[in-house]
Amino acid sequence: MLVKLTDCIDINEVYEYLYSDEAGAVNTFLGTVRNHSKGKTVIKLEFEAYEPMALKELNLIAERAKQQWPIYKVAIIHVVGSKQPGEAVVITGVSSAHREASFEACRFLIDELKKTVPIWKKEYYEDSSVWVNAHP
């Protein structure tokens, strides 16, 4: 499993890790900073993580995916720090023999990451900022 927090995501590193002569299928999800959110122009995002717990949760999610689907390799990488529109924020990736498992497990990784991993993002607009999801 390739699980880490980083300043900058390297997509090629992820593919090199996931590639396998046994696997016929590689699904990846890449999340990037959008330049708009709820009608406002986004200038940048700031990501903050409770790092030891975030790594523990990311590893748990990867382990659960391996228990639930017949998959070979799992990658989850999330950034911390400041990111501008277009920049990569998160990548999840799975290799497996057949495509169904790769799609389902990759989707599971990103869905669970968004639910449980202690990482927070603050969106900066032209005239204000907000911690995403903080309020109902």
Partner: protein
């Protein structure tokens, strides 16, 4: 009498709970970590949440509030000890 004072002093110092803060709870409190005085007699996750909301009503307005003990999500009835690493987890928004 001096020994008794020392014991009380040490108990208080040693039993101060430190709470790690992140995201919006840093903005609300203006701090990165919070000390819970021992005389508050807080022993459960639920007790800690109640105390926090009393001190900082804005924390009560968040979409959710979780507490992690030693890097694991804790339940309301779980006990807290000063030796644990305790963190407040406001609504996450990774990804």
């Amino acid at each position: 009498m001096r020994v008794l004072r020392l014991v009380i002093f040490l108990t208080l110092v040693l039993s101060v709970m430190e709470i790690l803060l992140f995201g919006i709870t840093r903005d609300i409190t203006g701090q990165q970590r919070l000390n819970v005085p021992a005389d508050q007699n807080i022993v459960t996750v639920k007790g800690l949440k109640q105390w926090l909301v009393e001190q900082y009503p804005a924390i009560g307005k968040l979409s959710s509030l979780a507490v992690a003990v030693n890097n694991t999500y804790a339940e309301d009835e779980d006990n807290l000890t000063p030796e644990s690493e305790i963190a407040l987890i406001p609504p996450v928004s990774g990804g």
